[in-house]
């Protein structure tokens, strides 16, 4: 488990990091918490000539109130996301999802931004961020640009981050007062999701006014369960209505088959887990 030799830079600011990336050319990797990159390098599935470590850039870490949204630094750890009071109040979905990632050690090192750029289809953070309609802030040689979550995840382990760019933060609208739940299905406690469902609902009286549903590991990217969202909007707050809406969960998904289950099983799980996630989010 020894990676190939590589050069290493640990810049103190985003500008320095961008310069280091520009200098290094193609064969460079950004290092955040290292919880995905380092295993991949140790297995020699990646052997970058240069690694630019973002760990010393203080400005990339932390959660800020930004009016109608929260601004979460890319280097904020899973542990911070899981325990931050602003996130708990305004986007509890993110805290609930982050708390299901791996184990305490990994959560203390792995970062929110790293998990999103890594874009593992089975990773737990992309679907909640997609459901929350967050915006990604990217810094590059030509300045800053913003990408909507719907455009950020482009394919299997592929995102809108271009060579020479880094993700600096994620802007997440506030969902104050919404109910939220992340329903993750695994075989052992420490495992990536076989399927998981991120759900947020806004309840008004006896009906579901609005819902946002994101699915983990139901395609090469996280997907929105739009058919379920539509069916839930205005539906009565009953288990039966939620179950009926959830039967649309697998529509438009393209799940993979692997040792944990084939595509048919995943489609079935998506329906069951959506029902459970929405029931829990609605507090039923």
């Amino acid at each position: 488990m020894i990676p190939s030799a590589f050069d290493y830079a640990a810049p103190a600011t985003v500008a320095e990091a961008l310069a280091a990336l520009a200098d290094a050319g193609d064969d460079v990797k950004v290092l955040a918490g290292g919880q995905s990159l380092i295993p991949v390098m140790k297995l020699r599935l990646a052997d970058p000539a240069m690694v630019v470590d973002l760990g010393r850039i203080g400005e990339l870490s932390g959660v800020r109130d930004d009016g109608d949204a929260l601004l979460i630094g890319a280097m904020t750890t899973h542990h911070q996301v899981a325990t931050d009071p602003l996130i708990a109040e305004h986007v509890p979905l993110l805290a609930k999802a982050a708390a299901t990632v791996a184990d305490p050690q990994v959560r203390h090192r792995g970062t929110f931004g790293g998990a999103l750029v890594h874009a593992d289809p089975a990773g737990d953070m992309p679907a909640p961020v997609l459901a929350a309609e967050a915006t990604f802030i990217l810094a590059g040689p030509d300045g800053e640009r913003q990408v909507a979550a719907a455009d950020f995840f482009q394919g299997y382990f592929t995102t809108a981050v271009d060579d020479g760019e880094i993700l600096t933060g994620i802007r997440v609208p506030k969902y104050t007062g919404w109910g939220a739940h992340y329903e993750k299905f695994t075989r052992v406690a420490q495992q990536w999701s076989i399927v998981a469902v991120a759900a947020m609902v806004r309840v008004e009286g006896g009906t579901i006014a609005e819902a946002r549903i994101g699915l983990t590991n139901m395609a090469s990217t996280p997907v929105r369960a739009t058919a379920v969202e539509q069916a839930l909007a205005g539906a009565p707050l009953t288990k039966e209505a939620i179950a009926a809406a959830s039967s649309h969960a697998a529509e438009g998904t393209e799940p993979a088959s692997d040792l944990n289950g084939d595509a048919a099983y995943r489609r079935h799980l998506a329906e069951v887990l959506t029902k459970r996630a929405v029931i829990a989010a609605a507090g039923l």
Binding site: F185, Q190, W192, L259, N260, G261
Partner: protein
């Protein structure tokens, strides 16, 4: 002897250094000038090696040497199998480094020796090997057809066929009668999936060739056996080899092996004249360390309509993998004597066919043969109960050996010395709340609850204390099953115990100290247990098969008895009494009927000083003993699992687990508890989580812990453990062994519970591991087949 230490839940002596990181695992040891090895492994499961170009690797920075099979062909010999179960047993030559063909993916084809581990690893990529792929045989039911051969030179995939027949052996009737006349016949096929031992410390070897003797440190369970067999394999006089097993982090049978990696490290050290070290990565461990289980079991059970079992017929296909491991051929045989388990019935036949495939070699894995046997009989007893519409517990009670019937000669030819299945089961029933859970199960079925409840039962017995040498001889194993100990008395009366067993997590240092503390009346803290170094412990048969206490521990006690006998002579002399009048208790020698006494320490010092000795007395109380057991020991128990199956997702969870084990007299309840918990975890892992999966080319798909699912604490329920204590009659302590018990009983208990939860929905069987997707698929299939609602 008053019992003060035996039975005490002492914290383990060995833990302080292990849990504070002051470990001496092999990889922690580095000698000055140590060179590091990295291995080039075949990506193909079966291929001819057409050429190997090592020139680039040789000129890579830091590389000292590159060895291929051709380079060491005349030195490497063939790795040993020591259990030719039949005179005709076939086995391919097993070179440590493949010479012209590879037979499984992961086999070593070259070895890099470099100044640093990083330089060695870098050079692996630079070795250019050309292969010509050959067809692979992976599946046992295919292998037995002999159409594609794992080793074409051998002419067959069959290594050996071994039969036990109670009719011909004289231990019962012929099976044919039982099957023909059967009122009820249950026929089933079970798949024992391939498992990977997954010990926490990866294997590691360090070899120092610079002294007169070659010193080998290895993460092994078997330093003594390794010394002899490395010497024989590599053509080195055994007197020139010293093997040390320093701290060893688990084994589970996975380190009961003479490995290519050990041989290669010796070859590299001798080639370079420098100390050489190899430590495997986890990926290498999963791919190339030996695997376990991997059997297909065809079972026929005959019974009367009243549920009295009348005969059992077992046909086994057992996967040896690509090469025949050290004792791999005998693993199914260890199971052969256990299929009848705790039951009495008149006719039994067992036949196994050991087969080669193009997968990693297999060998002993915790329980070795016995978990497989117990699974087959316990699953089938449940099937019989269903067939007869009988409570599975009642069925077992009808067929088991009752406690009045011991000693009992079994249909498989063993003599069970003792046991009380009624007592263990009664205790388990009470702790479990059997009747209430059955009532809840009925309610949930009635209500069509999405979460169904199942009750899994498994009783078991196993043979521990491997093994009486005469039995091993009769089974064609090449060596014996004795063990050896020395008890050395230091001048102060403190004690050094030298054991031939080789602990790798079991806590022998603590337990052996407790044994000797009671025997000699010496304080627990003043006893040191030495093991795992062939210089210090010259004789021993090492640790596996739940043998250490019941064989090695008895040697310790026997040696301590000899110490007492010697010391009595000295004490009599010191107190001017006659030897017959000396009594020894609680560390004191006293003269019968008087107040006169002297302490063990005083006798030790007087012996050491030697100023005034009895006539002809050697000034030395040290003693040694070699003990060959008369019989196996037979722990037993009853396990219950309450299993919930979420019929919406197929998820299985264990709501309650109760086990009552009878392991005889317990030396340290805390250690026993630890062994039971770990064993349960491993058995549950087979039932629900673990499986080594290969794709159609023979590549291991479960090549990391991301895919090979080893459960951890949050995945396991609270275990309710309890014991009954029926002493073994075959050793002076009454102990039976506990290393494998939990692993043996838990697998069938869980699977029986899963099926009990969903059988009424039309599910007939689910292969292990009972993963959610498999359980769900079985439910779906039952639905489309119009399950019995």
């Amino acid at each position: 002897m008053t019992v003060t230490e035996v039975g005490k839940a002492r914290l383990r002596k060995e833990d302080a250094h292990l849990i504070t990181g002051r470990t001496r695992y092999t990889d922690n040891l580095t000698l000055p000038g140590t060179l590091h090895l990295a291995l080039v492994r075949s990506p193909f499961a079966h291929a001819k090696i057409t050429s190997i170009d090592t020139s680039e690797a040789k000129s890579s920075p830091g590389v000292v040497a590159v060895l291929t099979g051709a380079d060491v062909a005349d030195k490497q010999g063939s790795l040993p199998n020591v259990w030719p179960i039949t005179a005709e047993q076939k086995a391919p030559a097993h070179p440590a480094i493949a010479v012209d063909t590879v037979a499984f993916a992961g086999e070593v084809v070259a070895c890099i020796v470099a100044r640093t581990a990083a330089a060695a690893r870098d050079a692996v990529e630079l070795v250019d090997v050309s292969y010509e792929e050959l067809p692979v045989v992976l599946d046992l039911e295919e292998a037995v057809k002999d159409e594609v051969l794992a080793h074409p030179d051998l002419g067959t995939n069959i290594s050996a066929t071994w039969v036990y027949d109670s009719g011909t052996a004289g231990s019962g009737k012929p099976i044919a009668e039982a099957l023909e006349g059967a009122e009820v016949l249950i026929e089933r096929t079970y798949y024992q999936q391939r498992l990977i031992p997954a010990f926490m410390e990866p294997r590691s070897v360090l070899v120092d060739p610079t002294g007169e003797q070659l010193t080998v440190w290895s993460a092994t369970q078997i330093p003594h056996i390794l010394r002899l067999l490395l010497a024989l394999t590599l053509g080195i006089p055994e007197s020139k080899v010293r093997v040390i097993a320093p701290d060893v982090g688990g084994g589970f049978g996975g380190k009961l092996q003479v490995t290519p990696e050990e041989a290669i490290t010796v070859l590299a050290a001798r080639h370079t004249g420098k100390p050489c070290k190899y430590t495997e990565t986890r990926s290498e461990s999963l791919m190339a360390a030996h695997h376990g289980r991997a059997q297909v079991q065809k079972v026929k059970l005959a019974a009367t309509k009243d549920g009295i079992v009348t005969g059992l017929d077992i046909h086994l296909l057992a996967d040896m993998g690509a090469y025949l491991g050290l004792v791999a051929s005998g693993v199914p045989i260890l199971g052969a004597f256990m299929y009848n388990s705790i039951y009495k019935f008149p006719a039994y036949r067992f036949e196994c066919t050991n087969l080669f495939t193009n997968k990693a070699w297999t060998d002993a894995y915790r329980g070795a043969g016995r978990p497989e046997a117990t699974f087959a009989i316990e699953r089938t007893m449940d099937e019989l109960a269903v067939e007869l519409n009988m409570d599975p517990l009642e069925l077992r009670k009808k067929n088991w050996i009752t406690h009045e019937e011991f000693p009992f000669a079994t249909v498989a030819g063993l003599e069970y010395d003792s046991g009380n299945y009624e007592a263990a089961t009664a205790k388990a029933e009470e702790l479990f709340g059997y009747d209430e859970l059955r009532a809840e199960q009925a309610r949930r079925r009635e209500a069509n609850d999405p979460v169904q409840l199942g009750i899994g039962i498994s009783t078991y017995t196993e043979m521990c204390g491997l093994a009486p040498s005469r039995v091993l001889g009769a089974l064609r194993y090449v060596a014996g099953g004795w063990d050896h100990a020395q008890v050395r008395v230091l001048p102060t009366g403190n004690i050094e115990v030298v054991t031939g067993t080789s602990a790798h997590g079991q806590g022998h240092e603590t337990a052996w100290s407790q044994l000797v503390a009671d025997k000699l009346g010496v304080a627990f803290e003043n006893i040191e247990v030495l093991h795992g170094d062939t210089h210090i412990s010259q004789r021993g048969m090492d640790t596996y098969g739940s043998r250490s206490l019941v064989v090695g521990g008895m040697a310790v006690l026997a040696a301590a008895d000899k110490v007492i006998a010697k010391a009595k002579v000295m004490a009599a002399h010191m107190m001017e009494a006659s030897e017959e009048d000396i009594e020894f208790a609680e560390g004191k020698f006293s003269v019968k009927g008087t107040e006169q006494s002297t302490s063990f320490g005083d006798v030790a010092f007087a012996t050491f000083a030697g100023h005034d000795l009895p006539e002809g007395f050697e000034p030395n109380l040290d003693s040694e003993a070699t003990v060959d057991p008369d019989n196996f020991s037979f722990p037993h128990g009853t396990h219950f699992a309450a299993i919930e199956v979420d019929t919406e997702t197929g998820e299985v969870s264990i709501r309650k687990y109760v086990c009552v084990d009878d392991v005889g007299v317990v030396v340290n309840p805390l250690i026993v508890e630890g062994q039971v918990h770990g064993g349960l975890a491993q058995g549950i892992a087979q039932a629900l989580y673990e499986e080594a999966v290969h794709d159609e080319t023979g590549t291991l798909v479960t090549g990391s812990f991301v895919d090979y699912l080893v459960p951890s604490a949050p995945d396991l329920p609270h275990f309710t453990t309890a014991r009954t204590e029926t002493p073994a009659t075959t050793n002076q302590l009454g102990a039976k062994g506990v290393g494998e018990a939990g692993t043996i009983a838990s697998t069938p208990a869980i699977v029986n519970g899963v099926l009990d939860a969903v059988r009424h929905l039309g599910v007939k069987d689910i292969n292990m591991p009972c993963s959610p997707s498999r359980v769900w698929a079985a439910l779906e299939e039952a639905k489309t087949a119009g399950g019995v609602q």
